[in-house]
């Protein structure tokens, strides 16, 4: 039993952390995150150069990592810095391309940006409820339907799209220029897009893709959990610092027990969040991956919202301003829950395990 990071991952975390604090501090981040194109092409290229994408892929597919703990290491640092670069869609896309036996190198190099289009307006998370249809047309396929809140869809050249066929759920590649795409920014920074498909030409990557898509979703969930842990740690530091320094009634507000006990509960929940993320990362490539990811995403959803709301409340009025860093952390922490299944969606999955 050992809960320390390996030397390799510690170096990866240090490299990424140093890079982000040098080049992507909160002011730089805010300047990028809320205006089109909602990320920085320069920073993206530099991070690819640093090998961040390689860390998300195993050696057999040209990467240098790819385990749950490699993913968690990268995303914890991204979360700590509130990085808006579309690395989550790259992670999930790389997993799907690897499952399809497709070429990964251009994506790993950062030159070919991809997005994963699964969720729909009436089926944000449930694969069984998807309605986008694929049908054969000549030698290829065409897709019809709407994919909603496609993270990374605002910059991707290629989309990996889940669509129903007569045989089940297939995975297709669509070139962004063939689809109708409406890009937009997000309340918590970064960008996404609505993708409209109307007999849009597509290439079949995986005919029976449910398993591959679930695996990519689970990797994405572990990444989001780790991102939340990093963002919660950073929020905790902001909060404890504020409690120590902010003076009211002639003393630091951290001397008031009404705030002390709430701060302690928040820190306790962060440790629980870290623990469940470790559990999910450890299970990622095994038979328990789905269940552990569901447990983690549920706990993270609860903890992240608690941390966000309590940190804002204890900061008081200043947290209501755009200028305060805690407001941006708070937004990200709350909105992470809406990605890849929220607390209720995942609680239902865990419940079904108890009922079966």
């Amino acid at each position: 039993m050992d809960f320390d990071q390996s030397e390799d991952r510690r170096m990866l975390a240090e490299t990424l952390s140093r890079y982000l604090s040098d080049r992507y501090d909160i002011a730089a981040r805010n300047a990028v995150a809320y205006d089109a194109p909602y990320h920085s092409p320069d920073r993206w290229a530099e991070m690819a150069e640093l090998g961040i994408l390689h860390a998300l892929v195993d050696e057999d597919h040209g990467g240098m990592g790819g385990s749950g703990f490699d993913i968690a290491t990268v995303f914890e640092e991204l979360g700590r810095a509130l990085c808006p670069e579309p690395i989550l869609p790259a992670l999930m896309g790389l997993r799907l391309l690897a499952a399809a036996g497709a070429e990964l190198d251009p994506v790993l190099a950062g030159t070919d940006q991809i997005a994963v289009a699964i969720g729909e307006p009436e089926a944000p998370w449930d694969l069984d409820a998807l309605e986008t249809r694929a049908r054969k047309a000549g030698d290829g396929w065409v897709l019809t339907g709407r994919k909603s809140v496609v993270y990374g869809g605002h910059v991707a050249g290629r989309l990996l799209v889940a669509a129903k066929t007569d045989a089940g759920l297939g995975l297709f590649e669509v070139l962004a220029r063939d689809a109708e795409i409406t890009p937009y920014g997000m309340i918590d920074g970064g960008g996404a897009a609505e993708v409209f498909l109307d007999a849009t030409p597509a290439r079949l990557l995986i005919a029976d893709a449910t398993e591959a898509i679930e695996a990519a979703l689970n990797a994405g969930r572990v990444a989001l959990c780790a991102e939340a842990v990093g963002a919660m740690d950073a929020t905790k530091d902001l909060l404890l610092d504020y409690l120590r320094t902010r003076q009211q009634f002639g003393r630091p507000i951290g001397s008031f027990q009404a705030l002390q006990h709430r701060a302690v509960d928040l820190v306790t929940e962060i440790e629980q969040a870290r623990s469940i993320t470790i559990l999910a990362a450890d299970a990622l490539d095994g038979p328990e991956a789905g269940r552990r990811a569901a447990m983690a995403k549920n706990l993270i959803g609860r903890a992240a919202r608690l941390v966000a709301e309590e940190a804002i409340q204890m900061h008081g009025g200043i947290a209501m301003t755009w200028e305060a860093a805690v407001s941006h952390y708070g937004k990200r922490l709350v909105m992470i829950d809406a990605q890849l299944g929220d607390t209720d969606f995942h609680l239902t999955r865990v419940m079904e395990g108890l009922q079966a």
Binding site: S255, Q257, I276, L279, L299, L347
Partner: protein
């Protein structure tokens, strides 16, 4: 990062399982399973079995008769013992006084008392809390006044757990009232046969007799029964609070409780369906399962740190808070699973054909009420938050 036990730890795990399967008396396990009150003879019997194996005083160094286990080994032993429904060992001599004597006691005290804890000759109880000194323990007022070779003790202690079985009590007493409260406290060992001591039972919320109050009137205690220096008792009390907090999360008990609630909810039919198929109930159970899974890892992370640094750290306060809240939630889910069948009291009154709850669940309501204590004793959860505040905020 590696969540697996080592080969040696896995082998130890098997050894513990085999021991429990062979040596834990089934009638004792059945009593624990039903939450029956254990007699002194029950406790003594289990202690003797563990002592014969050398596994009784799990936190003591080998030179004093402990097994020399690592924190991880202790954890494995505690988890497996809970799973097997072994009785909890009585902590007052083994986990509390023993480590105090090993750290602060004289050679003579160690030689006299430690073997008697192991062989069951002495049953110790704890004299810390007083009616006016609960969370604010340092305000205690039981006085010990030196007269020649004796202290004369006057005052009252309370919440003395299982004192009805004890022949000795270790007490915090005030030996100096002129200094700040923490600086005037001493740690005394007192023979309960001494004239002037009266122990009275306290009937608890669920009707049980678990704790007592102890009255001291001009009780003569030999000065050699002082542990450590006079007026150094607070240091010893703090040592006890921050040290030897293995199993504070109680993950073994909670895991067991979770499995039992799950079985109950799957077996029990309510209003035309299995209780587990009620989505509101299942959601509550699923959420506590998730919290428990996370806490198991939190517990292991802190164990791994304790193993590496030799220090349990203040994080044990987090485990105490989270562990007690989870166990209480599970107790609540068990009680609620029974619906009105949880209420007949005493539960034993409805036996045989008239029984409304499965035998191993008939005490679930009593256990729910009794376990409200978990977040109160051993430093209430609010006191734990104060401890964590000091470490976190450094104000």
């Amino acid at each position: 990062m590696d969540l697996q036990f080592t080969e040696e730890e896995l082998a130890f795990h098997e050894e513990v399982r085999a021991f429990l399967a062979a040596d834990l008396p089934q009638d004792l396990a059945a009593k624990v399973r039903r939450s029956d009150t254990l007699s002194k003879a029950d406790h003594d019997r289990w202690h003797a079995i563990l002592n014969a194996r050398g596994w009784l005083a799990t936190t003591w160094p080998e030179e004093f008769g402990g097994p020399g286990w690592s924190p991880v080994q202790r954890h494995i032993f505690e988890e497996e013992s809970a799973r097997a429904h072994a009785p909890r060992t009585v902590p007052f001599g083994l986990a509390m006084l023993g480590p105090v004597l090993i750290r602060f006691g004289s050679k003579a005290q160690q030689a006299e008392y430690l073997p008697r804890i192991l062989d069951g000759a002495d049953w110790w109880c704890q004299g810390y809390s007083e009616p006016g000194a609960g969370s604010d323990l340092a305000s205690l007022r039981t006085r010990a006044v030196r007269e020649g070779d004796h202290y004369i003790v006057n005052g009252q202690k309370t919440w003395t757990t299982l004192g009805q079985h004890a022949n000795r009590i270790f007490c915090l007493v005030r030996t100096d009232a002129q200094v700040k409260p923490q600086a005037g406290i001493s740690f005394l060992l007192i023979d309960l046969d001494t004239p002037g001591i009266e122990m009275r039972p306290i009937k608890l919320i669920e009707g049980g007799h678990e704790v007592n109050e102890v009255f001291f009137t001009d009780v003569k205690v030999p000065v050699e029964n002082l542990v450590g220096e006079e007026n150094s008792g607070w240091t010893i009390a703090k040592f006890l609070l921050t040290h030897e907090r293995t199993n504070i999360a109680g993950t073994g008990f909670s895991t067991q409780a979770f499995e039992e609630v799950k079985s109950l909810a799957r077996a029990r039919r309510v209003n035309g369906r299995r209780l587990i198929d009620d989505p509101l109930y299942a959601a509550r159970l699923a959420q506590v399962e998730i919290d428990l899974e996370a806490m198991k890892i939190t517990n292991l992370r802190m164990l791994a740190r304790a193993q590496k640094t030799g220090q349990p750290g203040v994080e044990s306060s987090m485990l105490k808070i989270k562990g007690t809240v989870i166990r209480q939630e599970l107790n609540d889910l068990a009680r609620r699973a029974l619906g009105p069948a949880a209420a007949p009291f005493p539960a034993e009154a409805l036996a045989g054909n008239a029984a409304v709850a499965p035998e191993e669940h008939r005490a679930d309501a009593a256990r729910y009420f009794n376990n409200r204590k978990l977040s109160i004793f051993g430093g209430s959860n609010e006191i734990q938050r104060n401890i964590l505040t000091k470490a976190l905020l450094e104000l």
